[in-house]
Subunit: 170 residues, 2 copies
Amino acid sequence: MSLRHAVLGLLSEGSASGYDLMKLFDLSLANVWPATQSQLYSELGKLAEAGLVDVTAEGPRGRKEYTITEKGLAELRHWLTEVPPARVLRSDMLLRVFFLGRVSPEEAKAYLSGQAELARKQLEQIESIRGLVENGTDNLSVYGRLVLEYGHRLARSQQEWAEWAQKQIG
Amino acid sequence: MSLRHAVLGLLSEGSASGYDLMKLFDLSLANVWPATQSQLYSELGKLAEAGLVDVTAEGPRGRKEYTITEKGLAELRHWLTEVPPARVLRSDMLLRVFFLGRVSPEEAKAYLSGQAELARKQLEQIESIRGLVENGTDNLSVYGRLVLEYGHRLARSQQEWAEWAQKQIG
DNA sequence: CGATGACGTTCCAAGAGTGACATGTCGAAA
DNA sequence: TTTCGACATGTCACTCTTGGAACGTCATCG
């Protein structure tokens, strides 16, 4: 049910077409709430039907510009302040750890060291992105930096954990 | 596609019925890969059809005991060692952070402090669970402790981040 | 002028996941 | 003996997510 709010959130920063939103998704929310093109367009349709957004302009190539309505804004605020975030952590990576006893200690260690390496790379990537969005005073940038910091801490934790976990084996 | 491997993983530690697996899920994998009863039973059906598990006994009340086959074990090992973990992080909690600019700084801070509190509680909970599974030398316990440690570090990171983030606002 | 690449939308099939409902059996305690 | 809680499986309808196909437009470069 959160894709709906992701879309409302982006539209609350300014009107956009489905195509625009796709690009926005890719460069801001992609790591937090991925969505495909087909999902986006169908969600926009539903949102319009529900009166949470309006089509406020039609451009060339059938372009439709969507604008959030008062009702949509109210829904967004309601979600932000009153709906408790549902935590559903689903981690393929951790699931495997449970069953590492099924393979040799060497293979288990290899898995964990692979994860450490992956986390290290991600850390680097985040640091490089950080430089790019250092300035930027729009809401999405300001709060996006908080999210980025979260990602940074998470990646560091993950790396340290994976290194620690390797030592626990064998 | 991972529920399938979660089930194979549990069955690799010993035969069990759907009902048994449900309980196992709840107390070990629940925080890593939640599953509902209906999902479990239908997955067991598919697994049996695919020859990755066998029904090796039928007990009272229609109980069916499932046992992993050689083919199933092979699939499990293949997944563990050769299939790269797909990382899909989807976080309702972080998604909201992006849009915190839509509400007042006070509300934004309240949200973050709520998250800090939640992480703190989770940390406590993990510490209490830790005491319970301290001993236990079966594979699920040994590797389960690695997962628990991950959860512990994650919760601590999250708490610290939420406290830090609050200070960035206003 | 023609090709190409970015723009832009819509539809569809299939698989996952959710939550509720239906349908019983068995053992033990009141 | 009735009733209750644990045991036990299965089905249904719905939503979410994925990935791809199909279709067409506009501007620009050679």
